[in-house]
């Protein structure tokens, strides 16, 4: 299906060209969440289509459907106009669809050639792998994309940019017709990005259809031919990149009907409670200065990887900043460990609650009292009556219903596990509570409950830091918003300055 690569039609010419691959009104639901709702997407040979959308717009779900990891609940996938199915990733590969991920999914301990040909290595006598031929073919492919990599090198000895090249070589080795690039430039330097652009041009000339997922508008306008915008799992716009401006794209990404209701809050903030000055880490963030007040909800917005969670982890003592000072209630404190943070009234509810939140093999009351054992024990001896009292108080406040506080947390539903985690942190009687993506992956009803609860905490005088990548949540809940980009504070917004456009502009740096 190698079509005329020079035929640069700027029509979204479904009439003039047959798309290599098309999604027709594809729907995907997860319990409680509709990830994709009747979205369509067409990819043409020799064309780059940029897929644009906020975090949570459904981009990765589409990638997973195209690579056979998820099965759509409705709609169909078409290859060359004929409906087909990808029951597994093998089937997607056989149909010529391949994905190059943000973090390449390759094998560090294998050689470059083995990585390129894993699963479809050339066979010699007795069905054994013909190593010599494999190396030769790998070398040919690498040369064809201008990569100066020895096929014998072990993958782990390569830099990120070269790993991307290996991933691309792998895509070519299986004769891919559709190449999905999921934020390929996220970890690359400017020079490496330029080289990638050249390569994308080459892939176009070879007639491959490319789906390019990126948050960076400059590169979208530089290399894409078409765009498709998703918002909240729905298709909101598609067309030729020549007919659209940055502003229009941003509007499509964020412009939304206000379907979520956020709790009413009187935005009365109290005294300063936390002052951060000059926080800096050698590789993760720099120049972080801000103040936080009692009764305030301070939103932290940014793209994934902007350094928000990394900064929060150092604020909580998991990692150490290289320099910077921290004042709580006017007093300078040094936090060297999470225990220090908890003792100073800072708690952190991490993003990955499954992994970092509850201890499922322990009963509810032991989970709740874990960070507060200093108060419920004397000289290292536990006082179980105190523990039960504390656990009962906070689980009742959160309306947690369980047969008994002796129930293992592993036997609770997800929503109740989350309540246990929140109860655990409230029981430490914190001054500052950091919530990292507090509503990620939970259904609308539970989201509203979490928002309600945050408003209540702030009303009680707690200072709340909310790390969130969801614009409605940031806008609906925050008194002020700090936008981070590439490890630095890009903007501090309050009041009317907090608009979807300003958030996206500062986060993407346009």
């Amino acid at each position: 299906m190698l079509m005329h690569p020079d035929q640069k039609s700027d029509l979204l010419g479904a009439e003039t060209e047959t798309p290599v691959l098309a999604l027709n009104r594809v729907t995907k639901t997860f319990p409680g969440v509709t990830a994709l709702s009747e979205v369509s997407l067409v990819l043409f040979p020799g064309k780059v289509t940029a897929l644009v959308g906020e975090n949570g717009a459904g981009k990765s779900t589409v990638v997973k459907i195209l690579t056979g990891i998820y099965q759509p609940d409705g709609g169909e996938i078409e290859i060359d106009g004929a409906p087909c199915r990808f029951p597994n990733s093998q089937a997607a590969g056989d149909a010529g669809v391949t994905a190059i991920h943000q973090e390449t999914v390759l094998f560090d301990e294998l050689s470059v050639a083995e990585n390129i040909f894993l699963g479809h290595a050339p066979r010699g006598r007795f069905g054994l792998i013909d190593t010599a031929e494999m190396i030769e073919k790998a070398r040919a492919i690498l040369v064809s994309i201008g990569a100066q990599i020895d096929p014998h090198t072990r993958l782990k000895d390569l830099g990120i940019a070269n790993k991307h090249l290996v991933a691309i070589a792998r895509a070519l080795s299986i004769d891919a017709r559709v190449v999905i690039m999921d934020e390929p430039t996220a970890a690359l330097s400017q020079k490496e990005i330029e080289e990638l652009y050249v390569l994308v041009e080459e892939l176009k000339d070879q007639g491959k259809a490319i789906l390019f997922i990126s948050h960076k508008f400059d590169e979208i306008f530089r290399i894409a031919d078409h765009y498709t915008v998703f918002r909240d799992g729905a298709l909101v716009g598609t067309g030729s990149i020549a007919d659209v401006s940055e502003g229009e794209l941003v509007k499509m990404m964020v412009g939304r009907d206000v379907s979520q209701i956020f709790p009413e809050r009187d935005h009365n903030v109290g005294d300063e409670i936390l002052v951060v000055e000059g926080y800096e880490h050698p590789t993760e963030f720099a120049d972080i200065d801000f103040t936080l007040h009692r009764g305030e909800i301070l939103g932290f917005y940014g793209l994934v990887g902007a350094g928000r969670s990394e900064f929060m982890q150092s604020l909580f003592g998991i990692t150490q900043p290289a320099s910077g000072t921290l004042r709580i209630d006017g007093e300078k404190v040094v936090i060297r460990s999470p225990a220090d943070a908890v003792a100073n009234g800072i708690v952190y509810v991490p993003e990955d609650r499954g992994k970092q939140g509850a201890i499922t093999a322990l009963p509810i009351f032991q989970n709740v009292t874990l960070p507060s054992l200093g108060r419920t024990s004397r000289n290292g001896f536990l006082r179980l009556a105190e523990e039960f009292k504390l656990a009962r108080e906070y689980t009742e406040r959160l309306d947690l219903r369980a047969a008994s506080l002796d129930t293992d947390v592993g036997n609770l539903s997800g929503g109740n596990q989350q309540k246990v985690v929140i109860a655990k942190w409230l029981a430490t009687q914190p001054k500052v509570i950091i919530l990292d993506e507090p509503t990620k992956g939970i259904d609308i009803g539970s989201k509203a409950a979490v928002h309600e609860f945050m408003a209540e905490l702030a009303a009680q005088g707690l200072a709340v830091i909310m790390v969130s990548s969801e614009i409605p949540e940031i806008m609906g809940m925050s008194d002020r918003v700090i936008v981070m980009r590439e490890g630095r504070i890009a903007a501090e917004l309050s009041g009317d300055q907090i608009t979807p456009e300003s958030l996206v502009r500062h986060a993407a740096g346009i």
């Binding site: 991490p350 990955d352 939140g357 322990l362 536990l382 539903s413 109740n416």
Partner: protein, 327 residues
Amino acid sequence: MSKHVLMSREMLLTGAIILLLGIIASRFPAFIAPSNLVNVFNDTAPLILLAIGQMIVILTRCIDLSVAANLALTGMVVAMINVAMPELPVPVIIVISIGFGALLGMINGVLVWKLAIPPIVVTLGTMTIFRGTIFLLSDGKWVNSHEFSDTFKAFPRTELIGLPLMSWIAIAAVIFFTLLMSRTTLGRAFYAAGGNPHAATYAGIDVGKTQFWAFTISGALAGLTGYLWVSRFAVAFVDLAGGFELNVVAACVIGGVAIMGGIGTVVGAMLGSLFLGIISNALPVVNISPFWQLAISGSAIIIAVALNAQANRDKGRIILKRAEHAT
């Protein structure tokens, strides 16, 4: 609900032990005479002591393969001290053995904590180092029965209300560590650090330090057992208790200690030890070859692990409201 599961797991094991005794009694009734059961328990006491320490180490997602080597090295050290200073009273010897064993355990603990070396590698290394040290200390020579002082040899056999002191020490350790595990912040930290290290870190628990204390306890118990072993058998040599670390791990696994950490009890470790102890005492009596003994112990381990895996199998997400309280 954990109490129920653990209870049932321990009840199950108790049931298995009673069944085992029943089968043995049907062929050899004298085996379950109280005096013989006391002997079996006394024989199993060292395994119980080591299994308690190992249980705590496994609870924190580590493993201590150096326990038997620690036992032998500490045993050799106190044996040589006794030969050099026969008048040194036994309580002092016991304090030395616990302290020296704890020190060896701390070496493991520091390597795991500060250098983040995988525990299996650390303890495999120290196991060899400890054995080698015994050779250097003793020149490969044995310390034999006639070289020990009488009080040194008499201590574990001294009877108190019908039980030798050896058994009383095992019982005391079971009680002491049951309290430590259920009633102290350190005990809670062991469960938390193994159950979910990330969550424990966020709750202010230093996981590495907790693992350090686990190795220290395991080492202290190995040291104490070193003295008891050497004095009971009145001999110390390089290969003392060679390979015994595997029995210790096996006792833990049979006793319901999850090899992935976070789950286990002192009573479980004791029951697992007794199960193995009964098998190794009964089989020679009923005239079954020692090779069968190995096969039976091995089968017991696999069955125990299979049962645990069954019990811990992910029940899937609890979405239905009514399922939440039914579990």
